[in-house]
Amino acid sequence: MKEEFLTDQLKTQEYFLNMGPQHPATHGVLRLLLKLDGEILRNVDMDLGFIHRSIEKMCERDTYKQIVHLTDRLDYLSSHINNEAVALLVEKALNIEVNDRIKIIRTIMDELTRISSHVLWWGVMGMDIGALTTFMYGFRERELINDIFEETCGARLTMNYNLIGGLRYDIHENFVKRVKDFVAHFKKKLPEYDKLLTGNIIFRKRLEGIGYISKEDAIAYGLNGPTARGSGVSCDIRKIHPYSAYDMVDFEEAIYTEGDSYARYKVRIKEMWQSLSIIEQLIDKIPEGEYKVKTKAVIKLPAGSFVQRVESARGDFGVFAYSDGQKFPYRFKFRSPGFANLTALNKMSKGLKIADLVAILSTIDVVVPDIDR
């Protein structure tokens, strides 16, 4: 009798739910349109552009030297790495050779940036799942890195430290000591992170087997960075197209093959260990020398197409310049790692619940200014 009533009288119906743009779990102004059946996700569509600043169009009226500084505002957590991509692009196109001192300082700063970004991700990851303490732990270590940045280049977030042909300033006299202190400190703190989250059974239940994407799909959807490496795709630009000082160091690409949220989480934890190892290998090897190569006042790229790729904290960040020989680029395109990773969100979260979507979004590690550009 009761069952009959349910099937006859109560009808189930799919409906839409709006998530964002002002939602704390979307890491910025990202709007998701969820098609739901009860609590089950049937489709996830996205609406972007809430902070679209048309940086690509702005680049068409800027000189190459000015463009370097615009890239800070893309993925603000990897600002140093983004600057480096444009600097390397122009240096490659004009055959400007930089010395080992510049290369090594750039690489150390890259890795500090990566740790600082991953530490913030780790804190926010816990918070998204419901563990508020991790946020405080993450920021505690991040402050130390930001202090090093501030002492060296005057800024803590959008650093503008890379220039075409070198660096804006030489490193501060305390730099080597402070980086060494940080590495020693962080080596003690990283196992604490594992105790808090990695081995936590409640945390693991929220991630294991959730948001699965296969290796084939990961390649087809253009996934990159730690998100793709969680599915067993070898895609670390530092390994496959080495730039700066990455060919001087020995490190292991962090790859897990499970393809779920927990694998993506483990990739980033392992990357922090690898970053520490890279910094340790380089910090005593900074040679004497100039910190800047003299470049022409007006930089003109030869006509043609140029691509430079770097491994930012989010993945395969690419810069594509189409030049017609002028001092302004004809077209300048930023290949955003977060945008590519976000395209697979629907694939990963179909059939799961809203709470799982929040966890998946966290392990993709989106930064919205990088997606909107």
Binding site: M46, D47, L48, G49, H52, S54, E56, K57, M58, R61, K92, D217, I219, A220, Y221, G222, V233, S234, C235, I240, H241, G304, S305, V307, R309, D316, G318, F320, Y322, F328, R331, K333, R335, F339, A340, L342, T343, D372
Partner: protein, 153 residues
């Protein structure tokens, strides 16, 4: 694989191609927009080349022509190539969508559609992604676009 190897191999797949920048670190190929989808499918499925990773899809305004630039990489050999397809009709620019071959192209094509007005034939949902839903002021990334608030050189 060197650029010459790739070039020799690709020439056996299709004939109407123009090559450039062979001595650079990235081979550039220009292809007619009518054979583009076939060509990209061949590049992806060919066992020797296996260009399976769509690195970037860029809308272009070449002045007289519009166009799309595709950057493909092989996850096996790690060579990057650039494929350009030009569209001469500015009023009604049409090109085949490749989202069935490369799912990664889906949202990138939406972006190229709203900023350059390029229509991707076969794309199921060419709505606005970055711009507001009711945007009707033209295509902002085209070279002939003007706007009262635009910053000038």
């Amino acid at each position: 694989m060197t650029n010459t190897d790739i070039k020799n191999k690709i020439e056996t797949l299709q004939s109407d191609l123009t090559f450039s920048q062979e001595d650079g670190d990235m081979l550039c190929i220009e292809v007619s927009k009518d054979t583009l989808k076939d060509f990209l499918t061949k590049l992806k499925n060919d066992a020797d080349l296996s260009f399976d990773y769509l690195f970037a899809l860029t809308g272009m305004d070449f002045g007289e022509d519009l166009g799309v630039i595709y950057h493909l990489e092989s996850t096996k050999h790690r060579n990057l190539i650039q494929i350009t397809a030009k569209i001469s009709d500015r009023e009604n620019p049409e090109i085949d969508s490749i989202h069935e071959v490369f799912p990664a192209a889906y949202y990138n094509e939406m972006e190229a559609h709203e900023f350059f007005g390029i229509k991707f034939k076969g794309h199921p949902d060419l709505k606005h992604l970055f711009l507001p839903e009711d945007w009707d002021k033209g295509f902002p990334m085209r070279k002939d676009y003007t706007d009262v608030n635009m910053l000038v050189r």
